[in-house]
Symmetry: C2
Subunit: 173 residues, 2 copies
DNA sequence: AACAAATGTAAGTAATCACTTGCAAAAATA
DNA sequence: TATTTTTGCAAGTGATTACTTACATTTGTT
């Protein structure tokens, strides 16, 4: 990975996350990155290739965020860590997460499949804790996580710390 | 409102909801509507004007969906109706709601303010029912509604009817 | 050192973008 | 009926789009 390649990826992430994929032209990316426009196509083939290069880099961020939860054996800890997940997101990664949410609607790129391991872990946790409908409980919690993430990234009025505390009490954690 | 004006609005809603605002060109809208491209600008000024004309038409849809809940005096009914809200959405209105969610991310058009009356009604309802943190409860439920709507409109694997039943049980309704 | 491959740029390309102009037909108003 | 206003279209406009080409420079390999 060249220095200029990284500059392109950083610039593209920043612009895609802020303005959206279609609203960002390759010439804008090149300008912000301080490279010639042609270099984008030399390295990434086309605009779509640039997008997927960004997503590939960020894929690991998501995995490392999940692996700590999925590996956890204590059921109560699985639930606690899931609820606290959004607060664990580094501010420097906001652009990446914002892009993830944006793409879900702008293009129809779904990140649901990546959620599957988390859903499994949660279902198991709720089952161990003798909840009546562990599968539904897992789905509901994921719904909340998604909503929390969305609220935080859009700078909604919602106070995430307060909401996390509230949820932890609800699940008796 | 001319017949051709309506045709333009219908075509634009369909395309904006499916492909997104930036990905839809005015020429595509004109083609689908079966009119000349210039007519769009004659009637709506520019592309943004076309978008806001669509949103103005749909504004009432949102209001009528909320008014039934906000006017309800029985607290348990307020909560029940809120939970059941997503299932009350007509399939023919899917495009409008999809556009609403899309715009929240593609442009930064926030529909949070329109949620405020619902939030107030829910807070009151939870207060009457002696919940410990009525405000947080209201916020949590709205988070859920948002997530449900998002899941339904994106055709996620989530079964909304099942989830609604599950939630009604959770709130002892 | 010699050669090949990879990295980089400047200046293009045709196509498409949102939008305008000029003019005709229809509708409303007098 | 005469006149104005509104509705509509065909054919434009310059700007911007994603992408290509031709050529120079740097880097890696033998």
């Amino acid at each position: 990975m060249t220095e200029k390649q990284e500059k392109i990826l950083r610039a593209a992430l920043q612009l895609f996350a802020k303005e959206g994929y279609h609203a960002t032209s390759t010439s804008k990316v090149a300008k912000l990155a301080g490279v010639s426009e042609g270099l984008i196509f030399r390295h990434f083939g086309n605009k779509e290739g640039l997008l997927y290069a960004i997503l590939a880099v960020g894929e690991n961020k998501m995995k490392t965020l999940f692996v700590d939860i999925v590996m956890e054996s204590e059921p109560k800890q699985v639930i606690r860590k899931t609820i606290e997940m959004t607060s664990k997101i580094d501010v420097s990664d906001y652009d990446f997460w914002k892009l993830q949410f944006k793409l879900k609607w702008e293009l129809e790129i779904n990140s649901d499949k990546k959620m599957e391991p988390l859903k499994m872990a949660l279902t198991n946790a709720f089952q161990k804790l003798k909840y009546e409908s562990p599968k539904m409980e897992a789905q509901l919690l994921i719904l909340f996580i998604d909503g929390m993430g969305s609220a935080v990234l859009k700078g909604s009025s919602l106070n995430p710390t307060e909401m996390i505390q509230f949820l932890l009490r609800k699940y008796e954690l």
